[in-house]
């Protein structure tokens, strides 16, 4: 058969569509961004403009990173109709192991404190440990048929206390100085590097947008109008440039520079004016977000995760090994908990046993606010990250305004339920599920 047969399909450029539908942006994504902007503006008014300062936005990003990293993994867990209540506890256990490795055990074995290999050995050990805990959970759930709720509820009690045993309940620190660069304010890229990365990100985005269009044209698929692609590219460029501009506008305070001018490439503190720029923890989050999105959309593993969430029987009958898939998903969750443990403990410069307390609830809430359906099959990585950002904005915004602690939790809890309510209404209107 040749392709020269008469084409009965409508012409590739569909007639008359609204501005938004031409852009083909997920309306739920727009809704979430709208909600975030609203929250930010309200707090900015309530705090007399202190909320939307470069300094506060910088702080927001580093406070969000730990929960957001775990939330990307929680999306996969929830999409396959499971739950993980043990992420905060796994984080504590991994953090304890990494802290003990770098502060006690490796120096005890003869590596002097400050040796270059210490942080990397600690990170490797922690990530392997997290992956093993997760894989074990996944094995119990997938192969033994114990509900994820029970396995991870048990894990919630077990792993934090495994951490406690390792450290005998003590706070372990100070952590290795290289290790601490993953924590936020102690590790930032500065101005030039941040801008360099920003330019690379913009170039990559534009190339991706137009390459996707080229492939579609090559396959003779309908494409959106060219102006829509250009608009998208401009919006993306502005967003990335704006983000970098804000972060590079937060200058390092003079007294901090004065302590060690050489660290900022100056001989004396006067006239140095360095800026923080992109924190390494946020860079780590962005990298994980990209990798997880690629996994979700472009790999068999991701395709099987969503197929299994949509219809476990269909997945099984299609020859997908859903049991082993469960092990892989939970192992990935464990690895992400370990990475979060690096970020969370290094931000505080110490490991303390209450690290990550209640994180399981924040992580689940972030994924759910971000549009992940507990009934399975639906969820996005960017949604979960936005969800984490919205929650953190609410929390720190209320703290800045001076809302009482009990009231803060009441508001956050209400927002969680309200977000799911809106989501259900939205799905009803759109006619899907």
């Amino acid at each position: 058969m040749t392709d020269s047969t008469t084409d009965t399909r409508p012409s590739p450029t569909a007639p008359k569509r609204s501005f938004l539908s031409s852009l083909e942006i997920d309306t739920r994504l727009l809704g979430m961004i709208g909600a975030f902007i609203l929250v930010a503006l309200v707090f900015n008014v309530l705090t007399d403009g202190r909320f939307l300062t470069p300094r506060n936005i910088f702080n927001l990003t580093i406070q969000t990173a730990s929960v957001a990293i775990m939330a990307t993994g929680m999306v996969f867990v929830i999409v396959t109709r499971h739950i993980d209540l043990s992420v905060g506890a796994i984080l504590a256990a991994c953090s304890a192991l990494m802290a003990m490795t770098q502060v006690r055990w490796l120096p005890g074995l003869g590596l002097e404190i400050g040796h270059w290999a210490i942080p990397w050995i600690a990170i490797t050990v922690g990530v392997i440990f997290g992956g093993m805990i997760g894989a074990f959970n996944g094995w119990l759930i997938g192969y033994q048929g114990i509900p994820a709720f029970i396995v991870t509820l048990g894990g919630f009690l077990i792993w934090r206390n495994v951490g406690w045993y390792q450290t005998a309940g003590q706070t372990i620190g100070p952590l290795d100085s290289t290790f601490m660069t993953f924590g936020g304010i102690n590790g930032t890229l500065g101005g030039p590097l941040s801008w360099g990365l920003g330019v690379i990100a913009i170039a990559a985005t534009v190339i991706l947008i137009f390459n996707a269009r080229r492939v579609k044209v090559a396959h003779d698929f309908p494409v959106k109008p060219l102006w829509a692609e250009v608009t998208l590219a401009v919006i993306a460029t502005a967003a990335i440039a704006g983000f970098i501009a804000i972060l590079t506008n937060y200058g390092v305070p003079e007294r901090v520079v004065a302590r060690d001018p050489a660290k900022y490439g100056c001989e004396v503190a006067e006239g140095c004016n360095p800026v923080y720029g992109l924190p390494i923890s946020v860079l780590l989050l962005l990298g994980i977000a990209v990798v997880m999105t690629v996994i979700a959309r472009r790999t068999r593993f991701g395709r099987y995760i969503f197929a299994t969430g949509g219809n476990p029987d269909a997945a099984e009958l299609s020859g997908i090994n859903t049991r082993f898939l469960t092990v892989k998903i939970f192992a990935l969750m464990g690895v992400l908990c370990a990475i979060s443990a690096i970020v969370a403990s290094s931000r505080l410069a110490n490991h303390s046993n209450d690290l990550g307390t209640l994180d399981e609830l924040r992580v689940i809430a972030a994924a759910v606010i971000g549009g992940t359906a507990l009934s399975g099959g639906i969820g996005t990585i960017y949604g979960a990250i936005l969800g984490a950002l919205i929650m953190q904005s609410l929390q720190s915004g209320m703290a800045m305004v001076g809302v009482d602690a009990p009231l803060q939790n009441i508001v956050v809890g209400s927002v969680l339920v309200f977000a799911v309510f809106i989501d259900i209404q939205y799905r009803k209107r759109m006619g899907a599920k």
Binding site: H219, R298, R303, N311, D313, S318, I378
Partner: protein, 249 residues
């Protein structure tokens, strides 16, 4: 006589204390449609699920084109070019048509990523052949009608060059027009030399579509007859009484 495409010999399976399929033998030739009839719980679907790899039989043998076959999983069945269209459709509702068609056998790019564009192009091609009205390629299959969903399921079997096709109530959820479409398709696949097992409750439809019908009751095979040798009433009495009228006569 030629070697049968499929031969299931003395197959049995039990769930707990219930003997769901009890020492059943059945065969299928290339270019033939064999219908399986019986009450709910007669063991039709269970029998066929052992062939498609969804269940593992307790005893018995399966021979495919004259060779002993071992089928322990749906993946094994696929290796023997056995494709199944399930009563419950077995589609992932949240994914689009192309993702469902290629589920478990995705086309991948050189870098090992799934090639959505190529899968979509292939889906367009096969759908243009099976169901030219099919347009909703980008939507989750939950947004499709029963007939459209069925054509996705059938496309899956056709695309991967099935030799043996199992259809479990393929028309149960369909309208008149769509049922006719499926019937037409069965005739075409038959001409191409596929062997088809068809499960249905509709005796009249079976008389039209099948070459032979096999009737089961309480997990046992009542009998297999060529459709031209029996009347609809004969078949009904086999289903209800569990007796072969010609043996009884």
């Amino acid at each position: 006589m030629t070697t049968p495409l499929v031969e299931m010999k003395n197959v049995s399976i039990a769930f707990g204390g219930v003997q769901a399929v009890d020492n059943v033998s059945i065969n299928l030739h290339a270019g033939e449609v064999v219908g399986l009839l019986g009450h709910n719980g007669a063991g039709k679907s269970t029998l066929i699920k052992m062939l498609s790899g969804a269940y593992k039989m307790d005893s018995g043998e399966i021979w495919i084109e004259g060779e002993r076959a071992t089928i322990h999983s749906p993946r094994d069945a696929r290796d023997y070019n056995i494709e199944t269209i399930y009563q419950t459709l077995a589609l992932a509702d949240n994914l689009d048509a192309a993702s469902n068609l290629f589920l478990g056998r995705e086309l991948i790019t050189g870098l090992g990523f799934v090639d959505d564009d190529r899968m979509e192009a292939e889906t367009r091609k096969i759908m243009a052949r099976l169901n030219p009205n099919f347009k909703k390629l980008k939507e989750p299959v939950s947004a499709l009608s029963g007939g459209q969903r069925q054509s996705v399921a059938i496309a899956r079997a056709v695309y991967f060059n099935a030799r043996i096709l199992i259809m479990d109530e393929p028309t149960a959820a369909l309208g008149v027009h769509e049922t006719a479409m499926v019937a037409e398709l069965i005739q075409e696949l038959k001409k191409q030399g596929l062997g088809i097992f068809l499960i249905s409750h509709d005796t009249r439809e079976m008389m039209e579509l099948c070459d032979r019908v096999a009737v089961m009751k309480n997990g046992q095979m009542v009998g297999t007859e060529r459709v031209e040798d029996v009347t609809e009433d004969d078949i009904l009495s086999m289903i209800i009484l569990g007796k072969n009228p010609r043996e009884a006569a």
